[in-house]
């Protein structure tokens, strides 16, 4: 195993500093939202978490295509790493969204398109892990994982569209909102800055964790090969 790369060490520190700054900005720099009050502050990290969740989903699908085309195991490690990280981040997005919903809609959960889609994405990720767990042959596990990542990446947008044809109450802060949206607000320039900074920070966190997880995946492969050699 090669030693920890210098760049990764730097990335760790940068990510940590960015995260601390983002937390400080959310609490002290961002102005208080007039209608919803303090609970609105969850918005910055809520969207950033969801962003990382979707980013990982996309990375996994791209890694899946790359794996099927090239047959290189490193793409399988990338795909699994992305799904694992995004599974956690998406879960945080759902929970933080729930907290926000309690404050602004008065309920922990509604069957709104985005919430429902988020729940389905979590289930797809869970199915992905169960699929991988059920296969012993590493090569087949990688192939099936890649195929499932591609299929789900295509299906989830369609799920979103299909639920979106109903009316939604989820606020659309970016782009045009639906007429029935509740808990929506206009972002002031300061809010926008904090929001963009959170997105940047969480993208860094994703990249950092992904790198660590890929290194871990490679180590796991080495140990598995060693174990197989010992058993033979």
């Amino acid at each position: 195993m090669e030693p920890k790369p210098r760049l990764l060490a730097i990335l760790d520190i940068v990510t940590l500093l960015l995260f601390l700054t983002a937390v400080a900005m959310v609490f002290f720099y961002a102005p208080l939202e007039a209608v919803m009050g303090q609970v609105q502050r969850v918005f910055y990290f809520h969207v950033a978490n969801a962003w990382v969740g979707m980013l990982g989903f996309m990375v996994a699908a791209i890694a899946g295509v790359a794996f099927l085309r090239k047959g290189d195991r490193k793409w399988d490690i990338v795909g699994l790493a992305a799904v694992e990280i995004s599974f956690v981040f998406f879960f945080i997005a759902i929970v933080s969204g729930s907290v926000w919903a309690r404050g602004s809609w008065g309920t922990w959960w509604t069957w709104d398109p985005r919430l429902t889609t988020a729940a389905i994405v979590e289930l797809v990720y869970a199915a992905y892990f169960m699929l991988r767990q059920g296969i012993e042959d590493p090569d087949r596990r990688a192939r099936f994982g890649a195929v499932y990542a591609i299929l789900s990446f295509l299906s989830v947008p369609l799920t979103f569209i299909s639920i979106r044809i109903f009316r939604t109450i989820h606020p659309v802060i970016i782009g045009s909102g639906a007429a029935g949206a509740e808990g929506s607000f206009e972002m002031t320039p300061k809010m926008l800055q904090v929001f963009m900074f959170s997105l940047l920070t969480f993208s860094f966190i994703f990249a950092d964790l992904l790198w660590h997880r890929i290194r871990l995946g490679k180590l796991a492969e080495v140990t598995e090969n060693l174990r197989l050699k010992t058993l033979q």
């Binding site: 869970a126 699929l131 059920g134 195929v147 591609i150 299929l151 789900s152 369609l158 799920t159 044809i165």
Partner: protein, 243 residues
């Protein structure tokens, strides 16, 4: 010594035939094989049918399907029934191939891999349509609802295509795992949610006599889903059966 040259003649003809002809011949051979096996054992269809009727029966008690409730939930009940009976059929049809190494035999045959996928998928689709063709009249009689509207039948047909296209692909994955039949619904249901939503909404629209303008988005969605997933399944099936 007469028959031998004839056989050779035929073999040469087959191999020199165009790719499309060869493809269709292997496709029909696979479909025919599934039909013949089913005609002799009648395992799959009878299981799917009895299961589908049981699900409807359970819904009858679970939902108190009185006249008022029926108008709104009929499409939902029907689609849940089809989806559950469908997983049963998909599982069985692939497990049958895996059982005594039939799949390996199919893979060894000098045919295009996608012919195997389309053969299995069309076979599954036929089974599903047969089950639907029996469940629909039974439901109509039991609950005195007229289900024979061309629009509704179109939605059911399109929905079944999408369901089977993804289902065949995923069931050929599921049979190769340790957990097998348990895994198929877990893999399949999150991915076919667009089909189920669009099909339920489209069917309800037709049953309640809604405007065609309101139903068209659902039919479009079903068409888009069908096209995308048939194309993707066609592209990735090779990787699933590869050894």
């Amino acid at each position: 010594m007469e028959p031998i040259p004839q056989v050779e003649e035929r073999v040469r003809l087959t191999s020199s035939a165009s790719g499309a002809g060869q493809f269709i011949r292997s496709l029909t051979a696979i479909i025919w094989k599934d039909m013949a096996a089913e005609l002799r054992s009648r395992e799959l269809l009878s299981a799917m049918l009895v299961f589908a009727l049981l699900v409807i029966l359970i819904f009858n008690f679970a939902l108190e399907l009185d006249a008022q409730a029926r108008a709104t939930v009929t499409a939902g009940v029907l689609w849940v029934t089809f989806a559950f009976a469908g997983t049963l059929g998909l599982n069985r049809s692939m497990a049958m191939e895996k059982d005594r190494g039939c799949l390996d035999g199919l893979l060894l045959a000098p045919v295009d891999r996608s012919a195997i996928y389309f053969g299995k998928a069309i076979g599954n689709l036929i089974f599903m349509l047969i089950v639907e063709a029996i469940v629909l009249p039974v439901y109509s009689v039991l609950y005195s609802v007229n289900l024979f509207e061309p629009g509704l039948l179109l939605v059911i047909f399109l929905g079944s295509i999408g369901y089977v296209a993804v289902g065949t692909l995923l069931s050929s994955m599921a049979v190769q795992t340790r957990t097998r039949d348990v895994l198929l619904p877990i893999l399949l249901f999150p991915l076919v949610i667009p089909v189920l939503i669009a099909a339920v909404k489209g069917s309800t629209g037709f049953l309640q006599g809604a405007d065609v303008v309101d139903i068209r988005p659902w039919i479009n969605l079903l068409l888009v889903y069908d096209v995308i997933f048939i194309a993707v399944a066609f592209m990735v099936f090779d990787y699933i059966v590869e050894e």
